[in-house]
């Protein structure tokens, strides 16, 4: 079975290349045995252990469900006409089987007409299963869907309200654009139905219709009907559904229609809000969340109104549903923003419910609440300073919970509770779980940087160094270094301990850099500093991190300026090694120091080792503006991700290349936030030291940090490629992805002008193999292995955009230019393609291209990978010229 499973996976993995849009119901290849197993389970056997012997050779190309499906087809046909008793039961079994196939991904759409024929029945159970089936396949088979319209419309007039509702829901779920005309009638009567259930279905149906065809929906005047229902319907669920439908419709329409935006504003008018608030107890808990979310946006006229609303909603804080409680909290917080005193009282009031929510319920839910608590604690740590014990970690809690708790502990530390908190944190530092131990040490360090009385904390930190665990030592060294930058007066105590650490035990680049910095900075206090540095210089070749080598250069020079005779030898060796270093920065710095020293030693001292000012405040990584944005979006994903929603929902901010990353190593989630937020650093005239206390920076992980220092691998003959690859890896500033691509464009322009003057020989014209072939697996492997040799953005002419209705059109066009498509997907406005091409003469010379086209901005992002890097620019030009001809006849 395991083997078998991999077969399936291999089938699926490539599906991923079709990154955006592939119907889930496309055939997934399954072996016979698997289906046998599914069948067995669908018959309801409780013993469902999969067959024991492993499958030998499931042929991957054979859609093995076929035999079964045609079998089903036959059986369904037989039953369709039959009126014998017991037919319904037999049908039920068959229908169940069909749906079980559908669920596991076997394509049973070929049964469509048989299913529809069989569904002429009064049996509700059968009907429901049929509706489910139809809803699933109608979109892919619009012609067949027409068959169902008739019986669905009939069912919409059934006397049983349940059937009416179900039929209407299925009708709206067909999602076939050319059938919407049949929808309007039943929907209209559904909205006026005397049964609440039918109306709830109809209200959401309007929203579905809007998403299929917005004009039909607006023209039929459904929104105003919804508005009417919302204000008058006795059924609370109908009201709630009207509200969600209207909110969605008006906000989507608002960009184009004045009236819509007025209507959207009207939802926030006093009468509507009061009407909803007064009925709040009638609503289901989910609908209450919806209403509360609307109330947040309402702006009360005066403070009396604010208090009225809060009094009305106060009891919601006692609701068992955590989502309602959070929504209420959001209302309270936002209503009182302008009233500082009351706002503080609100914090006091919501503290207990929040803490309860965190400690009860499922782990996931409490995580969600904890994230919100975290946000509030970070906003007003003082108010939570007496509750610090709630943030103590339990041994078995998962890392993501502990991390939040550690941050909160750090934030609430003040003079009165620091001792307890630091004691607790020290317990975690001895934790077997290395990431937690690291986080705890960082937390201690942060508290030390916050507090004025750091005496005890420094002792604790120094004790960590004596624990003799490499990760603890490493983490502590970084902190001690930061601490010394803020409190130089502690240098004496710290240096005594730091001096005893053998540099051999410190391997992590950050820690090593910190240690070296201290050796240089306090070389007059550490008696054997020159000799430690000397031995480090001797091992120059073994030092892989450029950061450490940079620090080493600076430290040796500082040491030299203070203790020249002892360090002279080491300095000479370091400068020689630095000058020979392959890393550009290290080389440049060595050269710079060398020339400085040649010029004047005093100037050197002024440059390299000026008197230091203590750092007073370390920069916060998140700007307050962003924090406010997140606070505005309380009770949503923004709080969990700790970034405002535009950063993860807007296509622009997500960056154009996110999907291609999926092929290689993916970095998503919280980390990517740090690439977006430009970190402000207080460098304290110590620019040679790229340090920062923010753990956010360190979190970026070796992938982004490492690449920014490593020289890109390139073929030296083509300078163009080089510069473009470098823009791909932003050097020091975590710039916005869009900016990066813009700068690429700028460089293109510049280089485009300068190209004729470039010394590189004019590359020979490139010929592509017309019948190039590459199988998907090879493509994917190559895509994973090859580095990106080119990234470019180009615009597409308007005719091209107009012609690009489906991906297939472009694929055919590119084929004419010997560029073949291997996978494509997407819907307007975003399309994505993976192309490949092969050099005519060389069988190994493949080019792989990822092309993302945004039709609304008329831009295409191109990423080229090539077996032969030197020709990728030529290929890219060819590709772009082919692309530019698209749409022109």
């Amino acid at each position: 079975m395991i083997q078998n499973h991999f077969q399936v996976c291999a089938g699926i993995r490539f599906v991923l290349l079709h990154v955006i849009c592939q119907d889930f119901d496309r055939t997934v290849k399954l072996s016979d045995q698997r289906i046998a197993w599914i069948l067995q389970s669908s018959r309801g056997r409780s013993s469902m252990s999969p067959p024991a012997q492993p499958q030998k050779s499931p042929s991957p190309s054979q859609p093995s469900g076929k035999g079964e499906v045609s079998d089903l087809k036959l059986q369904l046909r037989q039953l369709a006409g039959s009126r014998a008793p017991g037919t319904d039961d037999a049908k039920r079994e068959l229908f169940k089987k069909v749906i079980s196939y559908m669920t596991v991904g076997i394509d049973v759409s070929s049964l469509f007409s048989e299913m529809v024929m069989c569904s002429a029945t009064s049996d509700t159970v059968l009907k429901k299963m049929c509706y489910l089936y139809v809803g699933n396949y109608a979109k892919g088979n619009p012609d067949l869907a027409l068959l169902t319209i008739n019986f669905l419309q009939k069912d919409c007039r059934d006397e049983d309200p349940m059937i009416r509702g179900l039929a209407l829901r299925s009708l709206c779920s067909l999602r076939v654009a050319n059938l919407v005309e049949y929808l309007v009638g039943p929907m209209g009567s559904g909205l006026k139905d005397n049964n609440g259930y039918v109306r709830t279905v109809a209200t959401i149906g309007v929203l579905k219709l809007y998403h299929i065809s917005s004009t039909t929906c607006i023209d039929a005047d459904f929104p105003s009907m919804l508005k009417d229902l919302m204000l008058n319907d006795p059924d609370a669920q109908v009201v709630a559904n009207c509200l969600s439908a209207l909110q969605e419709i008006w906000s989507l329409e608002a960009s184009t229609s004045e009236e819509a935006s007025r209507e959207r504003e009207a939802l926030l008018s006093k009468p509507v809000i009061y009407y909803l608030l007064n009925r709040i107890k009638d609503f289901s808990e989910w609908a209450q969340c919806l209403v509360l979310d609307l109330v947040v946006k309402y702006i009360p006229s005066d403070s009396n109104e604010i208090f009225d609303i809060m009094n009305l909603l106060e009891d919601r804080l006692q609701h068992a549903n955590g989502a309602v409680v959070l929504a209420t909290i959001k209302v309270f917080l936002h209503l009182t923003l302008s009233m500082t005193d009351v706002h503080q009282q609100v914090y006091e009031r919501i503290k207990a419910p929040l803490l309860t929510l965190v400690s009860s319920g499922s782990q996931e839910l409490s995580y969600a609440v904890l994230c919100h608590l975290h946000l509030l604690v970070m906003r007003a740590p003082i108010l939570f300073s007496s509750d610090y014990k709630h943030f103590y970690c339990q041994y078995n809690e998962p890392f993501y919970v502990k991390k939040l708790k550690l941050e909160m502990l750090t934030a609430v530390a003040n003079e009165s509770n620091t001792y307890e908190i630091v004691t607790e944190l020290c317990e975690y530092a001895a934790n077997v779980d290395v990431p937690i131990a690291r986080e705890s040490i960082r937390a201690v360090g942060k508290i030390a940087l916050q507090q004025y009385d750091v005496n005890a904390i420094v002792d604790r930190l120094l004790q960590f160094l004596e624990m003799d665990k490499d990760h603890v030592t490493a983490e502590t060294l970084v902190l001690v270094k930061d601490l010394l930058r803020k409190y130089p007066q502690w240098s004496h105590d710290c240096i005594a301990v730091v001096g005893n650490i053998s540099s051999k035990n410190v391997q992590e680049p950050k820690a090593k850099a910190a240690l070296i910095w201290m050796l240089g900075e306090y070389s007059q206090d550490i008696s054997d500093a020159p000799y430690i540095l000397e031995s480090l210089v001797e091992n120059w070749e073994d030092e892989h991190s450029a950061e450490v080598r940079l620090h080493l250069l600076t430290a040796v020079l500082k040491c030299f300026l203070r203790r020249p005779p002892e360090t002279q030898k080491a300095l000479g060796a370091a400068l020689a090694a630095g000058l020979a270093d392959s890393h550009q920065d290290v080389h440049d710095r060595a050269l710079f120091y060398y020339r400085l020293l040649q010029y004047n030693v005093n100037v050197t001292e002024r440059v390299v080792d000026p008197p230091k000012q203590a750092v007073s405040v370390f920069a916060d990584t998140q700007s307050s503006e962003i924090k406010d944005r997140i606070f505005d979006e309380f009770n949503s994903l923004s709080v969990v991700y700790q970034k405002p929603s535009y950063m993860f929902t807007d296509k622009e901010h997500r960056g154009p290349f996110e999907f291609s990353e999926e092929l290689g190593s993916l970095s998503v989630g919280v980390e990517s936030a740090h690439n977006v937020i430009p970190a402000q650093r207080v460098d304290a005239n110590d620019n040679d030291l790229l340090l920062s206390t923010s753990e956010k920076e360190e979190n970026k992980g070796p992938s982004s940090n490492g690449s920014s220092y490593n020289a890109p691998v390139y073929d030296g003959s083509i300078s163009l490629t080089v510069s473009q690859t470098q823009t791909e890896t932003p050097y020091s500033s975590p710039a916005l992805p869009t900016q990066a691509s813009q700068s690429t464009l700028a460089i293109d322009d510049l280089l485009g002008l300068g190209l004729p003057a470039a010394p590189s020989p004019v590359p020979p014209p490139l010929k592509l193999n017309v019948r190039a072939a590459l199988d998907p697996n090879t493509f994917q492997r190559k895509w994973g292995q090859l580095p990106v040799s080119l990234t470019q953005e180009c615009s597409i002419n308007p005719q091209g955009i107009a012609a690009l209705t489906t991906p297939q059109v472009l694929i055919r066009h590119m084929q004419g230019h010997s560029i073949h498509c291997i996978a494509s997907g997407g819907q307007a406005p975003n399309f994505k393609f993976f192309f490949f091409a092969q050099k005519a003469e060389e069988p190994a010379g493949f080019f792989l291209v990822e092309c993302v086209i945004n039709t609304s901005s008329s831009k295409a992002q191109i990423k080229v990978k090539a077996d032969d890097q030197s020709t990728s620019q030529v290929f890219s030009d060819l590709f772009q010229s082919a692309l530019s001809k698209f749409g022109k006849l």
Partner: protein, 438 residues
């Protein structure tokens, strides 16, 4: 919008799709592959229940051997989404009769599709009240043969009523014998330092109720909480009775409880749903009675031997007893041999969790059994670091004991037909995370 879920998937541990329900077209059909590839097949699994892949966010939860994944493309309300899953699972459980696992899902997939259609429409949560859903669901749950509960009788053609003052209760219920069962379940969390001082301690409790009552009864529950009692004595202008009162830090109630009345009169009054439900939840941090004290002494004798002595004192009444007491004492990984002496229960070394596990099935109050163990370690050359000790953990259940001291003073049932009811009350205290550092 609170949640506009684009899709819900149920996956088994291998990543096979058990159930998929696409509500909206704004996410691709291959989302499940993305989940498999980036969450299930990587170390990311278990790091965080909310992940972003591409433009979509994935909320996932593992329940027994099933993953439930919600995919959204907008900035959704996380708490609402998770709560929805929790509630939905509870609903499914009530249909399957207890278990929620891969087998149950495979046996009931048509029912699940039906339910998913009713409880969420176009990504918006609809009605999750089991009572009302019964009216729309045609499939009967396939119950596992092991579940002892009898199948609910199908609802006889009840009139459709989605709304009304009590959406959670049907009218016209009749029981021969009117009974109410109240369970007070508390879990006590403790974190004790190695010096024996309590670092953190709290109790989270639930009042679970099972009602078999005819008609539309009005219930009123009285507890010995401080505020409620004060209010009562104020109203009746009588001095407060002596006796222990407790202070609840925070309470939340089932939506059947009239919260306005709770806020004004401090009484818990409600029309209960039929069957089983969670009436209220509370949290207490002050005045917690810890049922057990653990006094460990661990001595490391050289590099290859350890001596572990643990004394556990039960501090509840002598007539009461705790059940299923388990004490886990962590030992280093390189443990080779152990020998035990216990005055009660049984102890053994469990290598898979690196713990000495001491089990006492029945633990009377006011006793203090001890365990002394000798642990021999394999001497390792590389192990230069001293061993950091994880805390001792404890599990137990103490029936008829509440760590908070909460008591039910009265439960009044009022119905217009005026029948008599039988009320049953049980108390139980369980260990939440009961950790003692050593």
């Amino acid at each position: 919008m609170p949640v506009a879920a684009s899709a819900i998937y149920f996956l088994n541990l291998r990543g096979d799709v058990l159930i998929n329900r696409l509500y909206r077209d704004d996410v691709g059909g291959n989302m499940v592959d993305a989940f498999r590839m980036h969450i299930m097949q990587t170390k990311e699994l278990g790091t965080c229940p909310v992940r972003q892949i591409g433009g979509c966010s994935f909320f996932y939860m593992r329940i027994s051997n099933v993953y439930i994944v919600i995919v959204v493309s907008s900035n959704a309300n996380v708490a609402c989404a998770f709560k929805f899953v929790v509630e939905a699972v509870a609903l499914f459980k009530s249909y399957f009769g207890g278990a929620f696992d891969e087998d149950a899902i495979r046996n009931n997939f048509v029912l699940i599709y039906e339910l998913l259609d009713e409880i969420m429409d176009f990504g918006y949560p609809q009605n999750l009240a089991p009572e009302i859903l019964k009216l729309y669901i045609t499939q009967e749950g396939v119950r596992s043969p092991f579940s002892s509960k009898p199948a609910d009788k199908p609802v006889p053609n009840a009139t459709l009523q989605v709304t009304g003052a009590v959406g959670w209760r049907r009218e016209g219920l009749v029981y021969k014998k009117n009974e109410v069962f109240l369970d007070i379940v508390e879990s006590v969390n403790l974190l004790m330092s190695s010096k024996g001082s309590v670092l953190r301690c709290d109790v989270t409790g639930k009042v679970l109720m099972k009602c078999f009552l005819s008609g539309m009864p009005d219930l009123k529950l009285g507890l010995n909480d401080k505020i409620g009692l004060e209010k009562e004595s104020q109203l009746k202008s009588r001095p407060m009775k002596s006796g222990k009162t407790i202070e609840l830090d925070d309470v939340t109630f089932h939506h059947c409880v009239n919260l306005t009345r709770f806020n004004s009169e401090k009484t818990v009054s409600f029309v209960p749903p039929d069957g089983e439900f969670e009436l209220m939840k509370y949290r207490i941090t002050e005045g917690v009675n810890l049922p057990f004290r653990v006094l460990p002494t661990i001595k490391e004798l050289g590099r290859t031997r350890m001596e572990v002595n643990v004394k556990v004192k039960s501090v509840f009444g002598a007539k009461m007893f705790a059940l299923g007491v388990v004490i886990k004492v962590p030992v280093p990984k390189q443990t080779a041999k152990t020998s035990f002496q216990v005055t009660s229960g049984r102890a053994k070394y469990n290598a898979s969790i690196d713990c000495l596990v001491w089990k006492i099935r029945k633990f009377p109050g006011q006793t203090e059994p001890t365990m002394s163990a000798e642990v021999e370690l394999i001497s390792t050359m590389t192990e230069k670091r001293s061993w950091t000790r994880p805390p001792i953990q404890m599990e137990f259940q103490v029936p008829m004991f509440t760590a908070s001291g909460l008591r039910v003073r009265f439960l009044k049932v009022w119905e217009k037909s005026g029948y008599n009811t039988v009320e049953w009350v049980r108390y139980i205290t369980k260990a939440g995370s009961y950790e003692i550092r050593c």
